[in-house]
């Protein structure tokens, strides 16, 4: 005879079966290929968008020199732009500096008053470029050309451009953090929806196989739910590993052509770790709700009917988290951080924007508690609402959405 299983052991039996079954199924292949389509569409849309952005929101180079030098630099830029076009950064006069008076370029960049990405100061013969490290390296050449043209009217002798790096301008940094947060949130949302949908169809299939009663008789329903959730989580980790490898390979192959994201406030290593953890909690939260729905519904059509509002709600939650991200510290952001379904998204965005660690510890404890509660509630609903009948009396059948198996039976 066998020995009694703990809830954890029972969940493992379910998770092991589901993991193996899904991993070696055809649907897993589609699951792996799934993100390819949004990536392709995204790349195409991104290509168009980038083009628009390049023309509309190209970062500008500020000029802060004495008035005659400014005019010379502007004339040189105009002359070169005719030949080089968009190879040259657009310029904006930040200030016509009075002779002998210094100009605080770093201050202007960090306060955002200049509203440019970098500033060239000094003289055309001895220009100094101030800005973020990445940008000033990129603009060193064009600035040298403009300065040479401005100082001599010819481009043969390029002056030495001295560089002064700032970490980045405040405006740029904020924009960069926001962009990183947005990218992370979108990725998190796509992955979560993909997986939660799979967990739902897995449970519906289970009900179709009519094996659910065997499971419910042998082990607690909580263990069934937890087992299914964690099996899919393990599947997703496999998926992420595959996608990550492919993505990493593409990134390396693309080199400089890939868009560069600003380093998140908590740093890349912790941001990645938090990303994986928030992905897990976001999936577990949504998955537990989808599991409950799947267990209550009798047919695939019913599942689709019931899951639609949840999917819509998740979209709303995503938009809420996206909006909250732009309002750090506001009541909207506090709400997004506290509301269980938006919490992982909002917190990941916060990780990109705010270096504090303790809010993440707090949020994760809250999210894990919510997962536990949702699974318990789902299991309870399943036990009280679904396992009602064998052959219910005909008169008691089909009274409503959840009441197909209403009457007690056989």
């Amino acid at each position: 005879m066998s020995g009694r299983l703990s809830t954890l052991q029972a969940a493992f039996v379910i998770a092991r079966r589901d993991f193996g079954a899904i991993l070696f199924s055809r649907s897993f292949l589609f699951f792996l290929l799934g993100p390819l389509f949004p990536v392709l569409v995204g790349a195409m849309a991104g290509g168009v968008g980038q083009r628009v952005q390049e023309t509309a929101q190209r970062p500008e180079l500020g000029i802060a020199m004495e008035a005659r030098d400014v005019d010379a630099m502007a004339a040189a830029h105009k002359a070169l732009e005719a030949q080089l076009g968009e190879q040259l950064p657009r310029i904006r006069v930040v200030e016509r500096v009075e002779p002998g008076k210094p100009f605080n370029a770093i201050g202007a960049l960090q306060s955002g008053s200049a509203d440019v990405a970098a500033i060239v100061v000094g003289t055309p013969a001895k220009p100094e470029l101030v800005g973020s490290e990445a940008l000033i390296r990129q603009w060193r050449g064009p600035v040298a050309m403009i300065a040479a043209q401005a100082s001599a009217g010819a481009t043969t002798d390029y002056p030495e451009v001295s560089l002064m790096g700032t970490t980045s301008s405040a405006a740029n940094e904020r924009r960069g953090h926001l962009l990183t947060a947005q990218a992370a949130q979108t990725l998190l949302f796509l992955l979560t929806m993909l997986l939660a949908g799979m967990v739902l169809s897995n449970l519906v299939e289970e009900k179709g196989n009519k094996i659910i009663e065997i499971l419910a008789a042998a082990i607690p329903m909580d263990a069934v739910f937890f087992g299914k959730l964690f099996a899919m989580l393990a599947i997703s980790i496999v998926g992420i590993a595959v996608w990550g490898s492919v993505g990493g390979g593409l990134f390396l192959a693309a080199g400089d052509r890939m868009p560069e994201l600003t380093e998140p406030a908590v740093g890349w290593p912790l941001f990645f770790a938090l990303g994986v953890i928030y992905f897990a909690t976001a999936y577990l939260l949504l998955g537990s709700v989808f599991l409950s729905i799947g267990s209550l519904a009798a047919t695939v059509r019913e599942v689709q009917t019931i899951s639609m509002p949840v999917t819509m709600m998740q979209l709303v939650v995503f938009f809420l988290a996206s909006y909250a991200m732009t309002q750090p510290g506001s009541p909207v952001e506090i709400f997004a951080v506290t509301f269980p379904f938006s919490s992982p998204f909002a917190m990941l965005a916060r990780a990109a924007q705010d270096p504090a660690i303790w809010p993440h510890v707090l949020a994760l404890c809250w999210q894990v508690l919510c997962v536990y509660l949702f699974v318990r509630i789902g299991a309870r609903m399943f036990r009280s609402r679904v396992m009602k009948s064998g052959h219910g009396p005909a008169s008691a059948k089909k009274k409503g959405l959840f009441r197909r198996k209403l009457a007690a039976s056989a």
Partner: protein, 327 residues
């Protein structure tokens, strides 16, 4: 009731339920059911579809909890605490279609705490033992319905449970496989395993069970040994007399049915009076009724069911059996 061999003391109980009630949205599916199933017994829950059999079994197994009452399974108040000692075959059979037969058996065993490797070995051995060795590596979807059902039954038994619960186990089986299952149930009981099954087919309960619970409308009007159920009905007397009337008629019950024969003689049908057969015989002989034949038959479980559960429940039971046969 089963008893401990040699001691004469009542056998310990595998299942004990007192006053269990289950309501669904105002509908009382099971209404104060009491059950006591001795260890080692074959116990039948007999009733038409919709009577509350499945709900009762689900409560006993902990799939759902009763709204009222208490249950104790193999000494435990929480059925999942002894899940490793229970095997369960639900009425709605189901297995993972992509699983191989021996793996399906091992998986059901694993749910009951049997290590997977051991479950696989036992799964193969059980399939061999029951003539299905050739199908061990076939996926469930590749098996016939009957074979898949057998695989599920073997899964129910792979962890060698002390208590086996079958919900309508004969449903959907052909006559040959019904016979095999009856043999298997007897074999389990011979090894000391308690078997409880629900059925709407009286013949199975009558052939197999030591004890039955008759259930109708969510209530159990009778639970106990099959013989005791039968004894609820007085034996039926079939009397044939040459004479149609006389003083001896007073010895017959007032509701005795009289059918005159065409050529000669009379048939009388009635329940044996409580005073027994001797006073009746004496009255017939002394009254010169001219006894041509007299037979006394003990009531069957069907008659007992009609008497205990009522005509409506008995009719529903017959209809279920006919539907089953038609399928």
């Amino acid at each position: 009731m089963a008893s401990n061999p040699g001691s004469g003391a009542p056998a310990p109980l595998a299942i004990e339920a007192r006053g269990i009630v289950k309501r669904f949205d105002g509908f009382t599916a099971v209404d104060g059911v009491d059950l006591t199933v001795p260890e080692g017994a074959i116990y039948g829950i007999l009733g038409p579809n919709g009577a509350g059999k499945t709900t009762t079994l689900r409560m006993l197994l902990g799939i759902i909890d009763p709204d009222e009452g208490v249950r104790r399974i193999l000494g435990a108040e929480r059925p999942h605490d002894v899940a490793h000692a229970i095997g369960y075959l639900p009425e709605e059979r189901g297995l993972y279609p992509s699983m191989k037969a021996y793996e399906a058996i091992a998986f059901v065993g694993a749910l009951r705490g049997l290590p997977l490797r051991e479950g696989r070995e036992r799964g193969r051995a059980l399939l061999e033992e029951h003539g299905l060795g050739f199908a061990a590596d076939r996926q469930i979807r590749q098996l016939s319905k009957g074979m898949a059902q057998q695989v599920q039954i073997l899964g129910t038994l792979v962890h060698e449970p002390r208590l086996v619960v079958f919900d309508e186990p004969f449903s959907g089986l052909d006559a040959l496989n019904q016979g095999r299952l009856e043999k298997m149930i007897r074999g389990l009981a011979d090894k000391g395993t308690t078997v409880i099954f629900s059925t709407h087919v009286i013949a199975h309960a009558e052939r197999l069970c030591d004890e039955v619970a008759i259930i109708a409308g969510g209530k159990v009007p009778f639970a106990g040994p099959v013989d005791v159920a039968r004894d609820r009905i007085r034996p039926q007397v079939r009397l044939e007399t040459r004479v149609a009337d006389g003083a001896w008629r007073a010895a017959l019950p007032a509701d005795a049915r009289h059918e005159p024969k065409k050529d000669a003689g009379n048939f009388w049908y009635f329940s044996l009076p409580e005073s027994g057969v001797e006073p009746l015989l004496r009255a017939l002989i002394e009254g010169e009724a001219g006894i041509l034949s007299l037979s006394i038959e003990r009531a069957g479980l069907h008659d007992a069911f009609v008497a205990i559960a009522g005509e409506a429940a008995a009719k529903a039971l017959e209809e279920n059996s006919e539907e089953e046969a038609a399928r």
